[in-house]
């Protein structure tokens, strides 16, 4: 059993940048990311002493952060089915604008922002947080095989989009 108080401060300082970065990359908005991160840590503080298995702390923290970030996403776009299983990996509400003017790293980040949140979060959890499929499965509630195929689809879509943007850019 983990005790609250000092443990919380330790956990907060250890995870604050990662939680904020995760929320920021998912929400693409600094204030919303800060709100989501704050709510995440308030919930962690409230329930830290109920966490039985310290080994799952990381996945537990990201699952709380995910819920907070998706709550904000739903509030921003209440009509969107965020959990919808679909072949369409692109977020059509997010127009591609002036992307050809950007540098490659910027283009990659912009494309990441264009992905549907469910696919975007898989790439964020894998590429930036370097979680295993089992941990991503714990965070998202999806099966490991769904995580595997979701990552494959997200990467394939990113590669295709990048190829077409860079091709277009070279033609200008």
């Amino acid at each position: 059993m983990i005790d609250r108080g000092q443990s919380f401060v330790h956990v907060y300082h250890r995870y604050k940048h990662r939680v904020y970065a995760y929320c920021y990359r998912l929400l693409r908005h600094p204030q919303n990311a800060e709100d989501a991160a704050q709510e995440t840590f308030v919930k962690i503080h409230r329930s830290l002493d109920q966490l039985e298995n310290a080994a799952s702390l990381q996945a537990w923290i990201f699952s709380i952060a995910r819920n907070e970030a998706f709550t904000i996403l739903r509030r921003l776009r209440p009509t969107e089915e965020l959990e919808e299983e679909t072949e369409n990996v692109w977020d059509e509400d997010n127009p591609l604008e002036n992307v050809v003017q950007r540098e490659r790293a910027g283009i990659v980040q912009h494309c990441l922002g264009l992905l549907k949140p469910t696919y975007r979060e898989l790439l964020i959890l894998k590429e930036y947080e370097q979680l295993s499929y089992a941990e991503i499965s714990q965070v998202t509630g999806a099966s490991e095989s769904a995580v595997k195929s979701g990552l494959f689809k997200a990467r394939r879509a990113m590669r295709k989009k990048l190829e077409s943007i860079l091709k277009e850019r070279n033609e200008i």
Binding site: F8, K16, R18, A21, Q38, V42, S132, F152, R159
Partner: protein
Amino acid sequence: MKCDEYQEQVSALIDNELADRESELLFAHLSECSVCRATLRSELELRANLREDIPPLAPEELDMRVLTAAKNRRPSEPDRPGIPAMIWQRRLSMRIPVVAAAVFVLIFGSVLLSSMWAESNQTADVRTVQTAFLMAVPTVEVRAYTMEPVVTIQ
């Protein structure tokens, strides 16, 4: 297995999530397939590009917001279960067509009920009561064209 399936395996390979036997089969395929080798190269390139991004740091205000909120909540304070709100105090979340249908049923129902009530009032007994009531009320006659009306009370 088709190339599409091997490419999914390539994605799992760079994530270090393949079993030994799966890796063996994949490498055997990669040695023969230039398309899947190109996929592996571009997956690695994509990873490198994604990881070039410098992670945003949490703003200092977050420390204040979180640590103050945590300090204000005493560590020994147990989490009390919320008192469930009464049904009329809760926020209901419904889709627009459901709300529109409910409003229509309410309006249609009230119109139907009031017309039924009006019809039932046309019975002879009610008419008798109404007549008796009118007879009992004094008649007031107002004559026009005079500055002060002449009022006759019967």
